[in-house]
């Protein structure tokens, strides 16, 4: 950039800042009119507007968006957000927007500490909310925390003992987030009955089960399975049993009838993580003399081993 460009960029930035500031000022004035509080800073109207169910959804959601730092940055406003989210008679869209802001506020560990218990209680209550998006969000958040109440609900739902809060394959994924649970039967179902994304997740989670080597090897070798799922099965098998993966990967890498993309993935992995095997490297050298991605990957392995 020339000095002129720099100066112009600086001027543009200053104009943008001034414009944003003016826009915010106008908004605060509008907010104060909507909230009606005149004897405090205009930003104090933000929680009043959010909580006012008589106002239009768009107005309330705009406050949540524009005043997120205010609403998510003070304890009493967090209480307001939780009240809005927990009001089953309120607008789903406003509740969802408030929940988004609550979730963001939850990252402020010290500020949020006094409210985390009530937040988790709120999420547990949302598991039976009529609004699907709220149920899914609550379940996903509780799943990451390995919440025992959620896990019980999901387990009973998968056994058809009660209604699941989320779609069945999502429920399995949420349970699978806890690798200390025995989720094998559900992961087997996810792989057996799921689409490609579900099968991908199933083989990814199977990497936590010491006895899943046979299943993962079978998927890795399965020429009828999609490339991406086979590659993930390989990654999971390598995580679980590196030597076993190495043996299978070598076979696949040298199999001219196999999926080229899977062969490339095997060669690339073996390039960096494979054990020394001069016989294998010589056979790969023969591959490297051809054309295409497999040959290129083969050359990469041979050159890497030569330089190692």
């Amino acid at each position: 950039m020339t000095s002129g460009d720099t100066a112009r960029a600086g001027d543009d930035l200053r104009r943008a800042i001034a414009s944003a500031r003016d826009d915010h000022e106008r908004y605060l004035t509008h907010l104060a009119e909507a909230g009606g509080i005149k004897d405090q800073p205009r930003a104090a109207n933000a929680p009043v507007v959010v909580a006012n169910t008589a106002l239009a959804d768009e107005t309330r959601i705009e406050v949540l968006r524009r005043m997120s730092a205010t609403l998510g940055g003070r304890g009493e406003h967090i209480e307001t957000l939780m009240t809005v989210v927990g009001d089953g008679d309120d607008s789903p869209a406003v509740r969802a927007a408030a929940l988004d802001l609550l979730a963001a506020a939850a990252f402020q560990v010290a500020l949020f500490a006094p409210y985390r218990g009530r937040y988790e209680d709120l999420l547990r209550t949302l598991l039976t909310d009529p609004v699907e998006d709220l149920r899914r969000f609550a379940a996903g958040t509780l799943a990451l925390a390995h919440d025992p109440q959620l896990q019980d609900v999901l387990e009973r739902g998968l056994r058809y003992e009660e209604t699941l809060p989320v779609e069945r394959h999502h429920a399995i994924r949420m349970l699978a987030a806890d690798d200390h649970r025995d989720n094998r039967r559900w992961l087997d179902e996810l792989y057996r009955d799921g689409d490609e994304a579900a099968r991908l997740d199933a083989v990814r989670y199977l990497g936590s089960y010491s006895d899943a080597g046979d299943d993962l090897e079978r998927v890795l070798r399965d020429g009828n399975e999609s490339t991406v799922v086979r590659q993930q099965a390989g990654a999971s098998l390598r995580y679980l049993a590196p030597e076993r993966f190495g043996a299978v990967a070598k076979e696949i890498a040298l199999d001219a009838t196999d999926d080229p993309e899977v062969r490339v993935a095997c060669l690339t992995t073996l390039r960096y993580f494979g054990a020394d095997d001069t016989d294998f490297v010589e056979r790969v050298r023969a591959l490297s003399e051809g054309e295409g991605e497999v040959a290129q990957a083969a050359r990469g392995l041979v050159e890497h081993r030569a330089g190692a």
Binding site: P114, D121, H146, P148, R181
Partner: protein
Amino acid sequence: MTTASSACVGARVDALRTTPGGAAQLLALLPENLPMHAGRTPAQMGRFRGYVLAAFADLGLPDAAMPYVVESLETGDVADEVAGAAVALRGLERPPVGIVSSLLRAVDRRAGADTTVSFEAWAPRWPYTRPTTALTEVVRTLGHLGRHDPAARDALAGLAQRRRRFAADLYREIDDALEATAASHAAAEPAPSCCTHAQDRPVPESAPEEPTPADVLVEAQDGWSGGLDEYLRDRPSVVTFFYTRCDNPQKCSLTIRTLAHVGDELRERGLLGRVCVAAITYDPDFDLPHRLERYGRDRGMAFGPHARFFRVTAGFAALQRRFDLGVNYGGSTVNRHRVELHVLDAKGDVAVSVTRRHCAPKVVCDAVESLLSVPAEGGQR
């Protein structure tokens, strides 16, 4: 013995609450390595621990249950078990020395993660009719103990000063507890400690009937393999247990960090070589050598011929019996385990065990050094 269904277990505990002699029978259910606990999830194990401990508030807390209470307060990561441990202490008239510090450690660990629990039933459904939290129960117990123990009253006062740290409800509980303790004029001294605080004094263990079986085969993080008895023989050793997928930072991660310090101190004392240090994984199928190595190094472990981590490749059941390992398993991996460290003499017999609490490295080193009576034999293991 088959794994009892969750409902049966809950019914059994509820029945024992009102049974004469129920406390002793409940106590017998606490060890995590009982066959009845196999196949459960960690959450179920924590729930069971908390529910049983809470029952002692009504039945009276037996002395032998105190190590479980202290363990749950200091290393428990399931809200139910921390709450239950706090409730259990209300089954005592007088608090043992040091218990207030354990309660405060629980506060520090649970603050900001004070999940709602309930003991209204074995398997309560949400929403609970009698909700509580671990910190609520800790505060109530401090109030109970504060009738006799100034340390408990001081602890409550200290908690009241920590503004914006806890939920508003908890501050009300603290204020209520302080009022109640202020009304008490009892000035009796706390009861003598009825449990061993392993920081100060490891518990001597009676010698087992046999040393490590010769058919326990191991593989080390550096690829060395052989019999575990071969590694442990002819010199005193420090042996602890862990697994790399432990998600409780107060247990395995801290155990290995402590073991690393033990190794460092032994080295400084010029003893490493005359003694050896070993950590054995509870999860041998998953904890392959590269995982053992990475886990140890990340926690400061300096590996060498006399400082190794192992996975058992054959004879794990024999090892479990040998050490009476405090571990059990769910469908995928460990579902619960205790913290445990053993000091073995040169014959491979357990001389000292520290379980359910972490032990200061210096204390461990003093214990193993005291077993040295002959120079180390030559030859590398």
